[in-house]
């Protein structure tokens, strides 16, 4: 490890209602691979966005190569030598590899672009990195792994001094990861500073020199990787005190029947052979890190995305779910994690949204029975304590928590017995949060069954009767609430097959 190249000190950043970064420190040296770890929402991405000028910081200093800097956009950061290799690649699929690497700074021969020189230069870069990619290949024809190598090559061609890898291995195969690590070690040996964001514990041990752990927007500490164990890191990541008392025992009756059974569900890379059961009156938590395939599992189960194989049984009967229509017919309701895009129709009223899934029950002949519709909507406004001036209010004017209640109302109006809550409290303030928890408990007490996908550990431990943990498209653990601890869940969530 060489000299310090980048120091972030006391970085503070607030968004309306959220203290996203609370005096976070990070120090990167030349020739080190520095892991940045933390649960979902710990603030890693926000910190990197502050560094590269996508967000401006409220307080703190960034020192790069001994000078205090403040970038206002990623381009400035890039010009200075700080480059991010994104999880979602910013590529131009129709252009070739070399054209992508040199976009915006093409080599010219007179007035024409010198593609030959660009190909040569790209090839030189790849040779340096020891990777085998044809620079003349069209970008979209490469595998995700190769595309990522191109992004790295692009970063190096910018003469980067610090490269940030944002979960680079998430989409890679085993062989590609080996190749990636080889490149990263090579870059380290060339005295670059590397920030490596990942959830994979075993990778951290293999590739990184130091680890900085963040939790809930705050700085927890920095460790030398080789001196610590996986358990040390997990403890730092989850080592919060849980104020709301977690559930200690399952509330589900011993003889509760199985209402939903999923067997060997497969849908693309993110859902591989997932099987589970949901019992009547149960809250089944789905835990895991970002990109574990939980939402994808739910969407495939609900018929929102096509599935390749797998059997679904509702109340013991095998059902064929190809579209959301089929799922709703069998009494399954789905609250999407992206409320604005998939949950509500924002410029329509509370009443209209409430009856969206069950309009056929609110007809008088060919006309919509407005009175009956309003009554039903009002009933659930009262029941769920939705704060709205009236049922004819446009949903866009409601707060996030109340919008969520409207989505819940939609499925309750439909009288769904199986409810999938995907991140039910995302973007919702604390007060509304506990109301929604309360509501979920009431619903299961009434005999409904709930699958709750959540990235918040406290939420999982507080609400679930049983917990299923996923990692990279597979089910990697199942714990009864009695045996569940933060550490055990995190362990399963970082378990690679």
């Amino acid at each position: 490890m060489g000299d310090v190249i980048l120091t972030m000190k006391g970085i503070d950043k607030s968004f309306p209602g959220v203290h996203a970064l609370d005096h976070v420190d990070l120090e990167v040296r030349k020739g080190e691979v520095h892991a940045l770890m933390g649960e979902n929402g710990a603030g890693k991405s926000t910190l990197m966005k502050v560094l590269t000028g996508i967000y401006s910081k409220d307080a703190g200093t960034i020192t790069f190569e001994g000078r205090e800097v403040e970038f206002t956009n990623p381009r400035e950061a890039q010009d200075a030598g700080i480059v991010i290799v994104h999880q979602e690649l910013n590529m131009l699929g129709h252009l070739t590899v070399a054209q992508n690497i040199f976009i915006g700074r093409e080599f010219m021969k007179g007035r024409l672009i010198d593609d030959k020189k660009m190909n040569e230069e790209a090839r030189k870069l790849f040779d340096q990195l020891g990777i085998d990619i044809d620079p003349t290949e069209t970008m979209s024809r490469l595998t995700v792994g190769k595309q990522q190598m191109c992004e790295i090559a692009k970063a190096i061609s910018h003469e980067a001094k610090v490269i940030i890898f944002d979960e680079p291995s998430a989409a890679l195969t085993e062989a590609e990861i080996d190749e990636l690590f080889k490149i990263i070690r090579d870059l380290r040996d060339r005295q670059l500073g590397i920030v490596y964001i990942s959830h994979r514990m075993d990778e951290i041990k293999v590739i990184t020199d130091r680890v900085t752990v963040m939790r809930d927007g705050g700085y927890v500490g920095t460790l030398i990787t080789k001196d610590c164990t996986k358990e040390d890191i997990i403890n730092m990541m989850v080592g919060r005190v849980i104020y709301e008392d977690p559930k200690t025992e399952s509330q589900v009756a011993e003889d509760a029947p199985v209402v939903l059974k999923v067997e060997h569900l497969n849908a693309g890379r993110m859902v591989q052979d997932v099987s589970f059961e949901l019992r009547k009156g149960e809250i089944l938590g789905f835990s895991g890190l970002m990109g574990a395939g939980r939402t994808e599992t739910m969407r495939a189960l609900f018929g929102a995305d096509p599935k390749q194989s797998g059997d679904i049984y509702v109340n013991g009967e095998k059902v064929d779910i190809k579209t959301p229509q089929d799922a709703v017919k069998h009494g399954i309701g789905y609250l999407s994690e992206d409320r604005k895009r998939f949950g509500i129709v924002v410029d329509k009223t509370v009443a209209e949204n409430s009856t969206m899934a069950s309009l056929e029950n609110y007809m008088k002949g060919i006309f919509i029975d407005k009175k009956k519709e309003n009554e039903a909507a009002q009933k659930y406004v009262d029941l769920l304590k939705t704060k709205t001036p009236g049922v004819d209010q446009l949903v866009v004017n409601l707060s996030g928590g109340n919008q969520q209640k409207v989505v819940i109302a939609k499925w309750l109006v439909r009288n769904c017995d199986i409810l999938i809550f995907d991140e039910p409290t995302r973007g919702i303030d604390v007060g509304a949060k506990s109301e929604i928890y309360h509501l979920m408990n009431e619903l299961v007490a009434e005999g409904k069954s709930i699958i709750m996908v959540s990235s918040e550990m406290t939420e999982i431990l507080r609400m679930s009767d049983r917990i299923i943990i996923m990692c990279e498209g597979r089910k990697t653990g199942e714990l009864g609430i009695e045996e569940a601890t933060q550490e055990r869940i995190m362990h399963a969530a970082t378990l690679r097959n």
Binding site: F302, A304, Q325, V328, F342, V346, E360, F367, I368, R414
Partner: protein, 335 residues
Amino acid sequence: MDKIRNNAIVKKIGFNSLVLLVIMILLYILFAILVPIVNAKANTTFVSWSRIVSALNYAYFLGFLSLGVTFVIATGGIDFSIGPVMFCAALISGYQLTMKGWPLVVCLLLSVLVGAMFGVFNGLLVSFGGLPSFITSMASMMIAKGVGSVWTKTQSVSWPQSAAENGAYRNLVRINVGGVDIPTGLIILLVGAIICSIILNKTKIGRYILCIGSNREAVRLSGVNTKKWETLAYIICGLMAGIAAIFYVGAYTTVQPGLGDTFNNDAIAGCVMGGTSMAGGVASIGGTLIGVLIISLLQEGILAMGKNINYQYIITGLIVLVVVYTDLRSRRRRS
């Protein structure tokens, strides 16, 4: 201003529609003043019953086109085939009436059917085939032009005059009772608009069409068959073009093959002026109706000033650009 906005009656009619009404009246006054000045040598006036009748003749068929396309625009799509489809329907049914001697009632139904068929065609391609609506409907615009002229062997078709046999259909536009002209067309257009308004606001079809325009994916994930309802919007649009055909020939009797696309813009202009958003999800039938009346008045005024139809093309083009730009800006501000 806010006081006016929140007045119960104003709310019922819609503030935008009221503004449009005022614009329409101002436009009428403007033409009343301008026409005698601009077109001095023709010694003409704009304030006459015959001008109003002429403007209304234009408004009838345009009204039905506009009402129909409102449904498609409400889903976030567009239909550029309505004008040629209207002509195609009028050509085919008129040919069957005058050359093949089919009964009048059958021919009127045939016209509506031809329109609806094009709606089915467009709807299936857009919703099930996933084709962009503008290019699909432009292709079917060409097909409609071609089918119309192939059917009539490139001859124009003249529907019977009022006094002639089978001329009764013209009573749909205007009926003469004891020497007094009653504009039946206006009554039927109003009834049509009321029915459309009911469909859009009071039935499942309208509800789903509007919601699809706002957020297709949320509607689909509520277990609604979005493709079916989207197709239906195009079918309604085609059907209305078929009805528009009847009112076109009712007013003008003669249709030529290979034309009709100039009415697309007028119909769309009527729609967007009336407050229907090109982004989908927001539509106002009352607004569309007033929009159509303004366009018709504009057309009549331009003709009365001795200018030709080409000025109309330019003005409606500009109107659409400006109105849509305003809608875009207000949307951007809100988000």
